[in-house]
């Protein structure tokens, strides 16, 4: 079943009056629930733009031809207001970025709890969820450290914890291993892989790294603003959906025990 579907996605950026960049030239994409998909392609192929549209950070251009379609769990997302898109980002999506992008003045736990706050969860509940998420990425003992006191790999694991703390329907990761050495890179990738396998977390990631691509269920290849290859779906993508209470309990259970 498709969790995220897009059709006729176009995006043109206007850099100056005469200089426009056609970043996406009509893309059709479908991500199944529980899939871990890599989007690969050379620089300027439009993969980041596609990621921004899938993550509702930018809206697709309203086309002259066939209208753009974008559905999350069947709901239309193509023409939402900024506020509505922000709300969905906060409650139903998780983001991991190349530069970790933690708030420097906040501790690891506070960074994770920030995502709870934006999703409308506060107080003890947010603290509990934040600690559980940190435990899942193996950083419960680093909860009160500031980003500057953490290594790059640790920072990215905090970012992963922040992305999954609200049990999102989908996690979008933009070059999540791009700034890490190969050991740390493998660590973060293994972490994402584990969430996908064990909890059925749907993950879409953009990457340059062929090894990362290989570790995913499917690789979508882009070039010049178009998708060249939708990739082969893995035979079996079967795991409980992340958002079910049973999955949540399963996810939290062992982590709390180890903490």
């Amino acid at each position: 079943m498709a969790i995220l579907e897009g059709r006729n996605l176009r995006k043109t950026y206007r850099l100056s009056r005469r200089n426009t960049v056609e970043a996406l030239k009509g893309v059709e994409i479908s991500i199944d629930q529980g899939e871990m998909v890599a989007i690969m392609g050379p620089s300027g192929s439009g993969k980041s733009t596609l990621m921004h549209i899938l993550g509702l950070l930018h809206a697709p251009d309203p086309n002259h031809g066939p209208a753009p379609e974008l559905r999350l769990a069947g709901e239309d997302m193509a023409a939402l207001s900024d506020n509505a898109r922000t709300r969905i980002r906060a409650r139903r999506m998780g983001f991991v970025f190349q530069d970790f992008n933690l708030v420097p003045t906040l501790t690891a736990l506070e960074n994770v709890m920030l995502a709870c706050e934006y999703a409308g969860i506060g107080g003890k509940q947010a603290r509990q969820a934040g600690l559980e998420a940190l435990a899942l990425v193996g950083l419960e003992d680093r909860a009160s450290h500031k980003p500057s006191e953490l290594s790059g790999g640790e920072q990215q694991r905090v970012a992963v914890a922040r992305a999954l703390v609200n049990k999102p329907e989908i996690i979008l990761a933009d070059e999540p291993t791009g700034n890490l050495d190969s050991d740390r890179s493998a660590e973060v990738l293994a972490l994402l892989r584990e969430f996908n396998r064990e909890h059925g977390q749907t993950i879409v990631l953009v990457t340059h790294d062929a090894e990362v691509g290989e570790a995913c269920d499917r690789v979508i290849r882009m070039r010049d603003g178009r998708i060249r290859d939708q990739g082969q779906r893995a035979a079996a993508v079967a795991a409980p959906a992340m958002a079910t209470p049973a999955a949540v309990a399963a996810m939290a259970g062992p982590a709390v025990a180890t903490a």
Binding site: H58, P104, Y118
Partner: protein, 389 residues
């Protein structure tokens, strides 16, 4: 807590901005307290002169200056609509009034107690001791205003020297914030004696000490316009200047409201400068945090939330600056009043209203100043902001 950390991120800049606000609020508090004091003085005068006519010798002013005669009191009493006339003798406590003086100078004020027959409505309360009575005529006793009592360091029962004559203190007034605070009230006969000594011998020889007066306070019958009485006095008696409450308000009120406007203006200008520096600080802060704002927007912070965060932060800058400014202003006004006490010059009256409105104003100013950078921050595109270096 998070907010304090955000402010602490650029300690020097936050401290400088807070200092800017602090100085502005300090100026507002100090000048505002000064204006309060002047207002209280004027209001006291205005209340005192309401519904009565004060007659001075021509060229004299508010009972100071030329010499009148208590016989004129009888003349005025005979006029239509006049209820009671009280003769009084007023003089400066000391001839040396050099130096700048704010408010009213220390005065000696002599009149026969209860001569007004209950017509005086100006409220005077006694902190200790008693009021003068008619029976005090002939003896050297005095009731001191609160500031004067502090200057003499006098208690009830002590003896004070007024113009080289010893007076026994029988009562001390509570502060009125206006003229009586700086006055010594004595029986009429005693004041007449003191006044005689201030006159050149040649002049004094021709005067009968028992009829000397420097002011005549005329109480109209209920319902009679004091202006009508003043006109009557002008028409029938020469060599005197009658003054009504309206005259007082026009002469003194206009001058003081101008002064107040200048004082408050100075305070407001310093605050405007402080407010601009808050805008500057917050705009810089937003520019520095562009990327952080991008992160927050990307992971689901609404525009409203980003705006709120920045507006609250700048309101807190205003609040801290306001509280520090109030503290500094309090210290300055207190030290100023302590220093002025020895010469019975109380310059400042820091009221709760002034304190509260200054701090509230600083906070609102901070929040308002933060709104422009906040608006800018909330309009940032999350993707662009994330790439910002």
């Amino acid at each position: 807590m998070r907010l304090v950390r955000d402010l602490g991120r650029r300690k020097l800049r936050s401290a400088l901005t807070i200092t800017g606000i602090m100085i502005g609020i300090m100026a507002l508090v100090v000048f505002g307290s000064m204006a309060n004091k002047i207002d209280a003085l004027v209001k006291g005068g205005s209340t005192y002169y309401k519904d009565k006519v004060v007659v001075s010798a021509k060229g004299g002013y508010m009972g100071l200056g030329g010499v009148l005669s208590t016989k004129m009191a009888d003349q005025i009493s005979a006029l239509d609509g006049v209820d009671v006339v009280v003769a009084g003798v007023e003089m400066l406590l000391s001839d040396d009034q050099s130096g700048v003086s704010m408010g009213t100078p220390p005065m000696i004020d002599g009149s026969v107690a209860d001569a007004d027959k209950g017509r005086e409505t100006f409220q005077i309360n006694y902190a200790t001791g008693r009021a003068l009575t008619e029976q005090d005529e002939g003896s050297n006793v005095a009731v001191l205003g609160s500031d004067l009592a502090r200057q003499f360091n006098a208690q009830v029962g002590d003896t004070v020297t007024l113009r080289d004559v010893q007076f026994k203190v029988v009562g001390i007034l509570e502060p009125t914030l206006t003229a009586p605070d700086n006055s010594a009230m004595v029986p009429l006969a005693a004041a007449q004696q003191l006044f005689m000594k201030t006159l050149p011998t040649l002049v004094a020889d021709k005067l009968d000490v028992n009829v000397i007066a420097t002011s005549l306070v005329v109480y109209p019958e209920p319902g009679v316009d004091p202006q009508k009485i003043a006109d009557e006095i002008n028409a029938s008696i020469s060599g005197v200047t009658p003054m009504t409450g309206k005259d007082f308000d026009q002469e003194i009120g206009a001058a003081t409201s101008m002064l107040n406007a200048i004082l408050i203006g100075i305070g407001l200008i310093s605050l405007l400068v402080g407010g601009l520096s808050v805008i500057n600080t917050m705009a810089m802060s937003v520019a520095e945090r562009t990327r952080e704002i991008g992160i927050k927007r990307a992971i689901g912070a609404s525009r409203w939330r980003i705006r709120r965060e920045i507006v609250i932060e700048s309101a807190v800058i205003g609040l801290i600056g306001g509280l520090l400014g109030l503290g500094l202003g309090y210290v300055i006004t207190t030290l100023g009043n302590d220093a002025g006490r020895s010469s019975a010059t109380i310059l400042f009256d820091l009221t709760f209203g002034t304190a509260f409105s200054s701090v509230a104003f600083a906070t609102i100013l901070g929040a308002t100043a933060g709104f422009i950078p906040a608006w800018h921050a909330s309009r940032l595109d999350p993707v662009t902001a994330l790439r910002y270096e």
